[in-house]
Every structure is written in structure tokens, then in C-alpha cells.
Symmetry: C2
DNA sequence: ACTTGCCAATTGCATATGCAATTGGATAGC
DNA sequence: GCTATCCAATTGCATATGCAATTGGCAAGT
């Protein structure tokens, strides 16, 4: 268990004390300075370090715990939480999970991989320099043997360690990246598009068949990590969410 | 401003006191017993009624305020909030707003309206009895004069007051419903589909052109309110969301 | 070794208290 | 009437204090 530096917690004098404390610790967590798994100083230590009462420190920590950034247990103390993986529909989805939750058998094939410079379009789409190194992958995911979704992915080599040595034989790139990279920002877009010739052939559908296109771009500290286009045959796919006026059900 | 009954707040003895208070009030709000706009008793009153200290009551109220169920202001007191209308992409969207946020001029036409019994398909889709009364509407929304989205909507007359007298000349049905009905549950599905003949003609696109189909069904206390199918031409539409591992950005 | 029991560290919760900030409404003055 | 002023109701915040609950790890005993 890595150590956290107590003196890294600093107040900025803006607003209520409990909120200053909350923000200070949140920033340390979100910036990655306090890694998941490291232990947060106990309330007494923070109390002395910051010159606040224990209840005030407590209030900040309780709130952070409710927000899911830290987890707390009596006696063992407080530790930085590992970020939650998934958030209903908008989320970073794991395709294997998605398929298995439908009760179907999952399989995938890496159809192509090229390592090198990004093409102009890719560089544009992704905000990369032509000189950056990227891996370009095309993966077909199957559910019960039938084509389920076509994945086209670009990975920025500089943002991920071990990319060159990974051949994605065991784990599809999306899941592999979840374990080997960090992300702090993502953008997610859904649109409808007709299948192109190659795409239709791979997905075993007719050319022009309506498909759902999910495009996702991911950054770590404004540093591109990966961009992916997922093409789902429309007629066999819907994204469903259920919720109430006061939040997801 | 309607009054709230103080003695409606009852603790159930389960778990921490502050949480009992929070749940008690939350239930009164969510169940509709305390309507939006009504004022919540001040901390002192709750404190006496419940035999808890002010700080404990305070804690419950602060948390409810953070969750958005109530709003609090010094001196004026605490009132039940009107439920928030929108939540990023998954939300109950107002199409006029959506269009205006794109900086385009909004207009709409009600193309058809029939009041009567639901067709078998509609009844099926919506979980209605054949004997229920419904209104069936077809509305075309335009942005800068061009067709933007085709709306097909079924409204359950029993769930909405004033439906028969409304002709939707001033306000499109989606927005009108937001003001004249309550909902406690919604389901939202996104898929891709090719435009049918009539749809294509209305949207001024080619038959078979890929479209985003958003289907939403809404209930109030497990009681159907409305169901809607929104058909967006795919090539001029994408739903975008931005977020981080700790929530929306 | 292995088990049992105990202690102390740590968080969870509630209370009592005091003061600050905001502001609706009453009151006084014009 | 109209305005300026003040007061009191209400929430916001911080502290000090005490006890409860949990449990990691040590110590003692077998």
C-alpha cells in the first residue's frame, strides 16, 4: 500500500471549510496524486494538519465517500477507491459483459492490426500529430457465433504501456485498455448510419442496412488515449435505460 | 402555497436517525404527498416533532437539498423542489429547446390527431386495455424550416387532465405534457431503423435512409402516461455526451 | 502453531452550543 | 403612499464532546 503525503492537503480559503477539505482531497484523487488503494490520513491527522475540528473533517470525508471517491471502514481507515467501471447506458461498456448479460456466448476475432502513424483522417478525428505512434485495430465481436458489433479502434501508443507487446489474443482491446490505461475524460456520440460494403460483409447484413454507430473518444488529462467506432446492426440492437425524475432506477 | 402537515413525518426506527428523517421526507416528496412548491417545516419544528437535535435534522435536509428534492434559503425556509427536467442524453428532452440550442429556428405542425381507443399494437406496446381512451398524435418538428424529427405519440387520457380541451396549437405535446402530467418512471430505448415510405416523405429523405429511433415510455405510479417514438434522420443527428469516471463533466 | 481474548485505532452518530448570513415582513419616518 | 430601517425567523457553518461500533493486530495461553 502506497503512502499518501499528509502535507499535500492544502486549503484554499474559498468557501466553507468542509468544502475546502473536500475539494482538496478530491483534487488529489482525481489528479491521480493519490492512487487508488492508497490510504487517506485518518480524521485526527487531517484535523491537526488543517486546524479544523474532527466533525468538519468528517463531513468532508463522508461526502467524498458518498460520491464514491473514497471508501471508509472503521478501524481500517479510509482508502482511495478504484473508480467505478460502469454507469448504465452512457458508459464505458465492456462488450464481452454486454454479450454475456444477454445470455449469449461471446467470442471475438482481431481482423487487422497495424502499428504506425495515424492517417490524416484519424489524426484529425483524434487530435493527434502525424508523428505520434498509434495502433489501429479492427475487431469483430460475436454473440452466439453471429456478428454482434464491429469495432474499429485507434490507440495512442504514448498513453499506454505495454501496447507493443500485447497481441490481444486473450482479451479484446477495449477490456485490455480498461486495465492498462487511465482515462479522465470521455466523449460519447450515438448516430445512425447505413452499413458500407466492407462493414456489411463483415456483419453479415445488407449494404445500407441501418446501424447504430457509437463513437467514443477517451482522454487522460487532455491527452488522447483511444478512439473507437462501434457499429451495431440496428435491427438487432437497442440501448435501453430506465430512470425516474430523481435519478436512475 | 399549500401547507405541509408536520405530523406526516414519521420515523421508522431503522438505521441512523438522520437517515430515517431523510427517507421520511423523501417519501413524502416522491409520493407526491408534499407537492412541489409546498414548504417543508423549519428545522426547529421538525426537531421538536421528532425529538432529534437540530444538527441531525439539518443533516437530513442538507442531504435532500443536495439530491435536488428540496431547495433551501435562509429566512424563507425550505420548499419542495420542482423535479429537474433534464439529465444529459438520457433525458426527457424538450424538442424546442433542443433545436434552439443548436441555434436554429423552431417550428412544428400537428399532422394528425385521433382520439379514441388504442389499436391492438399500441395497447400491446404500452400495456393498455383496449377500453382505455387515448389520443394519438403525429407531429413534425422543424429546425430552420427543415424537418428535424418526426414524433408519434400516444397519450393515455386518464393520466392527464385537460387533454380533450387542448389542441396543441401553442405548445407541442411533449412540452405540454411536462407541465400537465406527472411521471415517476420512464424507459428510453435507442435503436437504428430505416425510414419507411410515409416517414421518408415527411422527413424529406430517401426511403430506407438510416434513422435514429428514440422510443420513450412514461409511467406515473405504474400507470401509463405517454409513449412516444421520435425518428431522427441519422445523417444530420448525433447524441453526444461527455463525462469522466467520476460522473458527467 | 494455533486459538482466544483483549485493546486501541478509527470511523459513525448524535447532541448542545454559538455565531454568521440572509431576507421577508413589519415599522417608522417622510 | 412610498421608502428606509430594523428585527426576527431561518438556514449555514463550525466547534467541542461523548459514546457506539467495528476490527486489525498483539498478547497470552494452550
Amino acid at each position: 500500500m502506497t503512502e499518501t503525503r499528509l502535507d499535500a492537503v492544502k486549503l484554499d480559503g474559498a468557501g466553507p471549510v468542509y468544502d475546502q477539505i473536500r475539494r482538496a482531497i478530491r483534487d488529489l484523487v482525481v489528479s491521480g496524486e493519490w492512487q487508488p488503494g492508497t490510504s487517506v490520513p485518518p480524521e485526527h491527522a487531517l484535523m491537526e494538519q488543517l486546524g479544523a475540528s474532527r466533525m468538519t473533517v468528517h463531513r468532508a470525508l463522508v461526502q467524498l465517500a458518498r460520491e464514491g471517491l473514497i471508501t471508509r471502514r472503521r478501524r481500517s481507515g479510509t482508502v482511495v477507491a478504484t473508480p467505478p467501471a460502469s454507469h448504465a447506458m452512457l458508459d464505458i461498456l465492456s462488450i464481452p459483459e454486454e454479450v454475456r448479460q444477454l445470455g449469449q456466448a461471446y467470442a471475438y476475432e482481431v481482423l487487422a492490426r497495424t502499428d504506425g502513424r495515424p492517417s490524416p483522417e484519424v489524426a484529425e478525428l483524434f487530435g493527434l500529430k502525424r508523428s505520434d505512434k498509434v495502433a489501429h485495430l479492427i475487431v469483430l465481436h460475436r454473440a452466439d457465433g453471429k456478428p454482434h458489433v464491429l469495432e474499429e479502434r485507434v490507440i495512442h501508443a504514448a498513453g499506454v504501456t505495454g501496447l507493443a507487446d500485447e497481441n490481444f489474443a486473450e482479451t479484446p482491446p477495449g477490456d485490455w485498455l480498461l486495465q492498462h490505461s487511465l482515462w479522465s475524460q470521455a466523449e460519447h456520440a450515438i448516430s445512425a448510419i447505413g452499413a458500407g460494403e466492407e462493414q456489411a460483409a463483415l456483419l453479415d447484413i445488407a449494404v445500407g442496412e441501418p446501424c447504430l454507430l457509437v463513437e467514443r473518444r477517451t482522454w487522460n488529462q487532455s491527452h488522447p488515449v483511444t478512439a473507437v467506432r462501434l457499429l451495431y446492426p440496428g435491427f438487432r440492437h437497442r440501448f435501453v435505460g430506465r430512470f425516474g425524475p430523481y435519478g436512475a432506477a
